[in-house]
Symmetry: D3
Subunit: 238 residues, 6 copies
């Protein structure tokens, strides 16, 4: 029934390749099927003004899509003079999600910026960005721990995200682009490896939904995040 | 336990005054406690390019805060050269929410823009904007029906929104600003009067949350939206 | 002869409601007929760089129109990426006018920003903004005096403004929108309560004018400002 | 008593050199003492959208200052991403002033843009721009008349402007920069050669003013504009 | 003598991987040592206004660097509200270079946009962009030929570019970042496979140069471009 | 053969008038035939952040064209919200060129900004800007030397620039606009008075070029720059 032939609760193939750029403190290329996102974590020994002197650190994120990551070429945001509303919304989400997995006191007064740049898009880029972004963050923090710059690991538990939705009347896991553009309900679920919920967003797109459907989507999401966390941990241990 | 002395499931006093500006096709001033939002609906006999010729209409929204609607003066967005990320996120949400209550074929090829301008803020401005925005929309559509410009009512069911959150470890309904700034979990729930879910957003702010808490918040939201719909219907029938 | 039926030298009904928002140090909603402007005065314990260390204070103003304050919806300036030329011109005028009524040494090194936001427009918004802006300023200064933060009253005399113009060949006082859009000559007069002139602007709009006409308009303006000052003083004493 | 040694009612030396650039339809370099402005009039066979099809023409103006036209270097507006408030205010004034001397029906559906670029500033740049701008406009219109593109002269009467102010307690004509920066009252007067008033702007800068002072300034302005019109007519007849 | 141990006239290892993204009509990832650039060619059946109706096609380019492609993180241009001067200069150069290898009549009225996004930077990104950009362009044009949309091959000869400079007093080929940042003279040479020169830019950076040095650099460039053309042809034939 | 009737190696008439504005530390109006550029040098006792505390000075440049410097009116960059790509490219080139003639240690920690504003354009504005810009710089530095603010002359040798190109198949010196718009190859050559090369840019515009042509253009450029340096030295000694 799904265009890709997947089962209702079947994720796309996930691959996470680490160490893909020589400059960043942490980096990976995450592939969720045909969605490919390059994630880098950049460490800076400064924090935003609003926490200066607090002893706490900060994790933030930026998101972008290469102009031809999509089926028809998009205009480059730098030439438009600003980031679009969708971009701003997504990068705020990524930052908020990653911070929910971080003990900012243990991180100390430094900032890590996670850049998520979509090389090729096929649905679910914000979820792939969060999942891959955590891997880049983990690698950057490992460097700090190894160097003795911090002593307690500030990462509480992995953070991963997956989209679920109602496609052709059925709850399905990990929407790809053909499904996403047809789905009546679309949800993004961000969880920690310890099962805690970080963010739940469910949105009617053309049709509305019921509490029962909400529960089905939530169940699929928990299954999906479990698989992603396994892939994240395998990637960072290589 | 709540700073305002309200019960856990008690809303703030709601008042919706209609017809507050002479130019707009529909308008109201909604007050949720000390949060006051002026909502106007403006009708235009044109639609965005992407639906031109489709026979369908469009409902969109814009959101703004007066510079001194908040406790300390904010910089005016017009002088900053752009709308901030939060503003863009909120106005996209309002538009999406209202459209979920509209039969766009019945509306016909015309656009209604709902402007939500916060006069005074005390938490929950996006929810008040949606709830008041629907009232303005209803009044503008009534004008179209009365004039015979459309024959079938395009409004399926009222749309209303409320925030719930975990404050001091307890699930509470309709957060005001002192609660909102302390809440560990913050959710916005948009429902229709017929009980259908339009949008659910729950977000960890400092702490994470469990599925049990998610269900409690959802339950409070349903109670709150019921009360708001009653207030909406009373306002438009006056 | 006037569309509203008013006499040539008759003002619209003026009402000034104070204390309309809980956050601002001073606020009022001024209504000149169907022109309604919300004015707030915000106090900040800092001054612009060019007077830092001078011991002098600063009063500045910003002006905006809600998108549907006008008969057809205007584009929101925040979405256009900048304030329009008319907006900038008006807010510079308001700030300059109010400063002419302030002893900046007595104010001390602090800044008061007066925001004038037009809720509903029917001609004469810049004049209403100045008149209402002074009331908000007066209330904010009263707070400073009461708190003992300043000892000498820095407000020399009330500041008020009125428009006059040549409509259908006759000099008339306090133009409303139907008159304003037809007037051949349009003037804005800003005076102090002690009779001193602050700013006089007369502008040909389609026709030119003579010195005799200039004198008639000036005479009407003096009458109008007298009435406005009475309304201002009544409002701040309530 | 004046820094320049001029009499109270003495203008600075005026010189108007025409034909200073080969591309523009009309051009001049106007010098009012040390204030030098290059004015060009550019003809285009199109009009702004709001008068398309009306058979009427349009005259508009733009104003700029070279970065080092002033005593200390100003930032270039093109690098700041926008024209400042003062620039916008001035160019709107120039356009409005010139249009008051034009019969837009006789001009026919075409646009003339007058660019006024300040090469060297020493006070009174907006007045010099209007006076020089009219000369450029006259020359461009002459070209149209000569070519037979229009038959009735659309220029009703010359338009010229001068500043007057209260300096050291005395009403003086044609303020230069040292006077302008000290003046308690500053006025700009735009008149036609036939004596009609186009625009009168008087503004308190530090001190306020009386109706008697207003009349003195007006009298000086009439004297000054007479002299300017003589210079304009001499320049265009050369 | 060179930091990398290379001979004076030795290029870095070049690799060109084609078909790296599924959406673009042509794409490659070019690696010049540690400089990695993703190049995509996007075909659109429209041309810029200035050649509409001419029967000629257009080739243009855009350039960007991922924020962490460099040793310390750069600010994302989309968040700065504009492309920097260096970016604009480079993308204009790439477009001009590629057009010099195209018969725009044979291409027909369509546009190909070549996007060059730097994944990892180590000097010479503009040259790598041109060289890789031509490969993407070649592949996109091949698609048009194969589909029969055009009949005559519009690509005259390969276009490739290499940098040369004076490093530690010696003329060297293909500067990497450590050399580039120390070089006294820096040149970029763009040639066609048939030996024709397209663009030569030599620039003093700290020291000046002589005609003899200019000739040495030119000679190295010819050698380098020959090797690049071989790599380009091998890549597109795979 | 040349539209102007000049010999292949004949420059346009050059004139350099100094001291043309009273505010700038150095200024000149350079005329290369009908190309007229006003150049001013502004001294500031501050440097950009990246060299603060280094003891070194900085020379930078900005470039602009008056809207009607060209045959048809161009839009003013200040109204477009940014400097165009061509403008940015040119002003970076001017600054780089002038710095190559400056000993920045001898200049000391101060900045000189050279503004080049094109009054009338007829080809070769960037070269005229560099040549005239050096004269303005020389005069500003002379003032510093005279005042004893610096003791060693920081100007190594004059800097001048000329364009050459292939027009109608022939190498010609100093392209004017009719030649520039037809030229198949266009080059800009920046040299010092001591013969050292600063920047060489040769660009195919429609046709490509050979090394022999490159050498011819270079030879013409050396001849042209010699003549310009003579004119520069004459101008600054007057």
């Amino acid at each position: 029934m799904r265009p890709s032939g997947r089962d209702l609760s079947e994720m796309r193939a996930v691959s996470i390749e680490t160490g893909v750029t020589k400059h960043a403190e942490g980096s990976c290329l995450i592939r969720m099927g045909d969605t490919h996102v390059l994630c880098t974590a950049s460490l800076e020994e400064r924090v935003p003004p609003f926490i200066k002197g607090s002893g706490q650190g900060w994790v933030t994120a930026e998101y972008g899509m290469l102009p031809r990551s999509t089926s028809s070429r998009m205009r480059r945001e730098a030439t438009q003079g600003k980031q679009g509303g969708r971009t701003v919304e997504i990068q705020r989400l990524i930052g908020r999600a990653l911070r929910a997995g971080v003990d900012r006191n243990a991180l100390g007064e430094r900032q890590i910026t996670v850049d998520c740049d979509v090389i090729q898009a096929d649905g679910g880029t914000r979820c792939a960005s969060i999942t891959g972004g955590w891997v880049a963050l983990r690698l950057a923090v490992n460097k700090l721990l190894k160097a003795g710059d911090i002593v307690t690991d500030p990462l509480i538990s992995p953070v991963a995200a997956v989209s679920c939705g109602v496609y052709a009347g059925q709850a399905v896991l990990d929407l790809d682009y053909p499904e996403d553009s047809e789905a009546g309900v679309d949800g993004n679920f961000i969880l920690r490896g310890d099962g805690a919920l970080i963010e739940v967003q469910m949105s009617a797109e053309g049709s509305v939904f019921s509490r029962t459907q909400m529960d089905s989507l939530m169940g699929l999401a928990e299954k999906g995040v479990n698989e992603l966390v396994t892939a994240q941990l395998a990637a960072v241990q290589r």
